[in-house]
């Protein structure tokens, strides 16, 4: 089975108000030391985890802002991946782009290095919402970024959108989707904003100046997303993800199928050989450890079968088609009914879950209540 490779680029021009991923202000010197540490991590991992046997089917450069790096630096990362890991012939390579950091030459260089998919962080159409989120770019730059990608030869373009932004109306959201659809996306991720503790936005909400979006309105926006995008030929394939048939994000499917992935860079998470581990969060510590020749892992644990089964179920149920009980049985040697029979019955009874012969999936009612379903398997 193909393995996924995630690489975290922990730099941004400016961090967004809602973001709680690990990211530092871009600094050329720090970026250079980070990239050399990253190569050391690749070398260590390819030895440690039997790079030869594992075939990587996808690479995903996320962040942070991967495009805060130069085109040459991004291309360099991809080249090193090829040197250290064996990649599948049809490997999907995605780079996240922030429209404020994209130009035609950079995208051209990136495309030529073998990257074949971009995910453009758009979030919203309205300038007041973009500013409220602390985004560094304008809508004009979004359009220019999409053009740059297209002229560089990218066909597989995904757009990241956010709904449920404080102050966002239903019409704002409709318009955002309409404008994005005009750019012929292959894939759209539409996330409902979650205000994470510790972020500037969270402080604004708790201290008063910002009022969070009403829960009922969020739900309305969610269903309006599903209606509009499926009406335009997109398949709603995961709670927050939509794709034209055949253009689903292969890398993300690995997470939802609870398959193996290796994460590189600070705070990156991995799930390999039944072991879950994650790297240290601090980029300085990350660099220091690698300079000493150590893996920058901060925590690692072997998952119990019970945990693996629970995760397989709750991750799989994020997919609209749900999970295949046959695959579950094959993987764990027990049927899903043997393990979770009583809970499945209860959830089916509550009309949150649909249990067919070959599929176990959330109902329409269950989708927005997914956590209530998942918690039953914990």
């Amino acid at each position: 089975m193909a393995v996924g490779l995630y690489i975290h680029i922990p730099f941004c021009i400016k961090k967004c108000g809602y973001c709680d991923f690990v990211s530092y202000p871009y600094d050329a010197g720090l970026a250079a030391s980070y990239l050399s540490a990253l190569e050391k991590e690749m070398a260590l991992c390819s030895r440690e985890f039997g790079g030869e046997q594992k075939v990587f089917g996808s690479i995903y450069l996320g962040g942070g802002t991967p495009t805060a790096l130069t085109g040459g630096q991004v291309a360099g990362i991809i080249d090193r991946c090829r040197n250290h890991f064996s990649l599948a012939g049809d490997v999907e390579i995605t780079v996240e782009c922030n429209p404020g950091t994209v130009d035609p030459e950079k995208m051209d260089t990136i495309r030529k290095s073998g990257v074949n998919r971009v995910s453009i962080g758009v979030q919203a159409y309205q300038q007041r919402l973009l500013s409220g989120l602390g985004r560094i770019h304008t809508w004009r730059e979004v359009v220019q970024a999409a053009d740059s990608c297209r002229s560089a030869g990218f066909d597989n373009i995904s757009f990241d959108l956010i709904f449920g932004i404080p102050g966002q109306t239903r019409n704002d959201w409709q318009e955002t989707m309409d404008r994005v659809l005009e750019m012929s996306p292959r894939h759209i991720s539409a996330y409902c904003l979650k205000i994470e503790p510790g972020t500037p936005l969270h402080r604004e909400v708790t201290t008063g100046p910002v009022t969070p979006c009403d829960e009922d309105l969020e739900l309305e926006m969610f269903w309006c997303t599903v209606d509009k995008l499926t009406g335009c030929g997109f398949k709603h394939y995961e709670i927050s993800n939509f794709a034209l048939p055949g253009w689903e994000a292969r890398h993300n499917l690995i997470y939802w199928h609870n398959e193996e992935y290796l994460g590189l860079g600070p705070a990156a998470h991995s799930m390999l050989n039944g072991i879950r581990f994650n790297n240290v969060e601090s980029v300085e510590l990350y660099i220091k450890k690698l300079n000493r020749g150590e893996l920058p892992v901060s925590q690692a644990r072997v998952l119990t079968v019970t945990e693996q089964m629970a995760e397989t179920v709750f991750l799989g149920l994020r997919l609209i088609d749900g999970l295949d009980p046959g695959v579950f049985a094959e993987r764990f040697g027990r049927t899903i009914n043997e393990v979770y029979g009583d809970r499945l019955e209860k959830l089916v009874c509550l009309e949150l879950l649909e249990a067919g012969e070959n599929r176990l999936k959330l109902t329409k009612k269950g989708l927005p209540l997914a956590n209530e379903v998942f918690v039953e398997f914990i």
Partner: protein
């Protein structure tokens, strides 16, 4: 000196006293200063409020169990006196224990706050002390505080209690002022104990505690005869005999001595395994040569307030039973019996002396034994005469027979005394009326302070009368009450249905005239407490088959995580675990999860 005359001198130099005070009037601080002054403890050994030993007592600033300490004081007359201070519980729930502690003394120090004046509880305890013929030494405390009016307070004590305050000590226990005067007055005013060393042993048990090595340690005051290790003793109320292993005094640490004689306050240990065998108020006598008459005043304590206690997690049932057993070792007034609830499963019905006692037990179970508990709303004992003529008593609303089988019902009433500044009289009267109080009397204690008496249903007192009283009088009112008897009442059982099913643990018995109001308040309150579920949860209040109020908890519509954070499954898992933890603290009744506090909602209304 002959042995007899030595003994005589000994008890002529003994003074047994207690301190009577309202909460916050400075009893514990004064006790601490007395200990300090007489050197019972060095300053380094003192943490504040030595006598209140339980954490809970310190936090709440109240005494739950009596404690005793022996002080040695060299008086101005050059003689050394033995002073036994018996600390008394300071709450209406423990009136009986207070009366037993008082019975062990010849005198009492009455501490009154120089700004606040006499409070209801103080007065009740002073009357108890006077009944026991105690010499009372008035001490006006906190005289250094702004707002202190020692003159007015002296006048109040003289008018209300009829106690001469010419010699009243003006003290500030906090500042250490007036401590010596208090000690001098104890020596000069309180009479020494009288009694005959040669008579058969007669000693009063005023408290006990359980020690895992020595068994029950009984706190006693010897009135006649003496007790020493090796002696066989008999508990007159329970008729049980034991052999004494150890006798001793409180320094305040338990210190063994050879013998306890007339007038002595101390402890005995006699390998007594069960606290039930040695009850507060019982008389200890010699098994060989018993006295023919026990000391007066013993009664078996009967609980007044009942409530159900259930583990949130049914698997903790055995732990709860063990914890209750352990608490009972130290608290003979705690009663419990197994009980089952349709909604809550297996638990216990507990009987308490009052609401404070109930809160203390709950808190100790949760804190000291780490149990997660659900407590049902407290109830009293109702008397029901059935149509077939039989009279039954119920302490759990669930056991109330159907209305058609009830001829009439009676409920316990108390005589409640409220003391309050005169401009709150209207507010107190209004509240008493709302709580079905029957007006008895109003008396001016001074120009500005009034004492109101009402006859009132006990259930109203234990619901929220005290909180309401405090809030409507800005904390100025004080309350005391005593059981006065049963009265006929028009009572109905109010049931609560959650998702169309009666939740037995939420039922309560209320007066018919209040049923609609209570039903409405309770459903509204529950609507806020019960979290949203994936379906609508109707909450209805019913009497018999009639629905009198209804609220609905709207269905939860959204609970989903948008993103999976680049493979950070741990984070997602933690969120789900947190959500699950929250659910665990709730009780699943049918398919609805009801939080713990819902079962006490009936107490916290208005």
């Amino acid at each position: 000196m002959t042995e007899t005359s030595h003994k005589k001198t000994r008890h002529s130099k003994t003074r047994n006293f207690c301190i009577i005070a309202h909460i916050d009037h400075g009893k514990s601080t004064l006790a601490d200063r007395l200990l300090e002054y007489t050197g019972a403890l060095t300053e380094r050994e003192m943490s504040d409020q030595v006598l209140d030993q339980m954490d809970l007592e310190r936090e709440r600033g109240i005494t739950i169990k009596a404690q005793a300490v022996r002080l040695m004081y060299k008086a101005d007359d050059g003689e050394i006196y033995t002073l036994n201070l018996i600390d008394t519980p300071g709450h209406v729930d423990f009136t009986y224990e207070v009366s037993r502690s008082l019975a062990a003394c010849e005198g009492a120090v009455l501490v009154v706050d120089a700004a606040q004046g006499i409070e209801a509880q103080t007065l009740a305890n002073v009357y108890l002390a006077l009944e026991h013929n105690l010499e009372i030494i008035p001490v006006i405390n906190k005289v250094d505080l702004p707002g202190a009016e020692p003159g007015r307070v002296k006048g109040e004590i003289e008018d209300v209690i009829g106690l001469d305050c010419g010699d009243a000590v003006l003290a500030s226990a906090k500042e250490g002022k007036g401590i010596k005067e208090v000690l001098e007055q104890i020596v000069t005013k309180i009479p020494p104990p009288v009694g005959n060393e040669d008579e058969p042993l007669k000693a009063l048990v005023f408290d006990s505690h359980y020690d895992s090595y020595k068994g029950v340690i009984a706190y006693i005051r010897v009135f006649e005869g003496s007790v020493r290790p090796g002696m066989r003793i008999r508990m007159m109320a329970t008729g049980k005999d034991f052999e004494v292993n150890e006798v001793g005094i409180f320094r305040p640490a338990l210190t063994g001595i050879g013998e306890l004689g007339v007038g002595d306050v101390g402890f005995i240990a006699a390998s007594i395994k069960n606290v039930k065998d040695i009850r507060v108020g019982d008389t200890v006598t010699g098994a060989q040569k018993p006295t023919d008459k026990p000391l007066p005043g013993y009664r078996k304590i009967t609980p007044m307030v009942f409530s159900g206690l259930y583990p949130v997690d049914g698997a903790d049932y055995d732990d709860l039973r063990d914890a209750l057993g352990k608490l009972k070792l130290n608290d003979a007034s705690l009663m419990f019996d197994p009980e089952t609830s349709v909604a809550l499963g297996f638990g216990f019905r507990l009987g308490f002396l009052g609401l404070l006692h109930m809160e203390i037990i709950q808190e100790r179970l949760e804190r000291e034994y780490g149990l997660d508990l659900i407590t049902t709303a407290p109830s009293v004992v109702f008397r029901i005469t059935r149509t077939d003529g039989e009279m039954i008593e119920i302490d759990n609303p669930t056991n109330m027979p159907p209305a058609q089988n009830i001829e009439h019902m009676e409920e316990p009433f108390v005589k409640a005394t409220v003391m309050v500044p005169n401009h709150y009289v209207g507010a107190v009267m209004e509240l008493a009326q709302e709580k079905r109080g029957i007006y008895l009397n109003m008396e001016y204690l001074s120009e500005s302070r009034v004492m109101l008496s009402y006859e009132m249903p006990l259930i109203e007192i234990i619901y929220d009368f005290f909180d309401q009283l405090k809030s409507r009088t800005k904390g100025y009112a004080s309350l005391d009450y005593e059981f006065s008897g049963y009265r006929e009442s028009d009572l109905v059982k109010l049931d609560i249905m959650v998702s169309a099913e009666v939740v037995d643990a939420l039922s309560c018995i209320v007066h018919r005239d209040k049923a609609y109001q209570k039903g409405r308040q309770l459903t509204e309150k529950l609507k806020d407490i019960i979290p949203r579920h994936m379906f609508e949860v109707p909450i209805q209040a019913t009497i018999g088959n009639k629905i009198i109020a209804r609220e609905t908890v709207k269905a939860m519509r959204k609970n989903v995580l948008a993103k999976c954070y680049g493979g950070d499954i741990t984070r997602k898992r933690k969120l789900l675990e947190k959500q699950k933890e929250g659910k665990k603290r709730m009780k699943q009744v049918g398919n609805v999860e009801i939080p713990q506090e819902a079962f006490m909602a009936v107490l916290k209304m208005e």
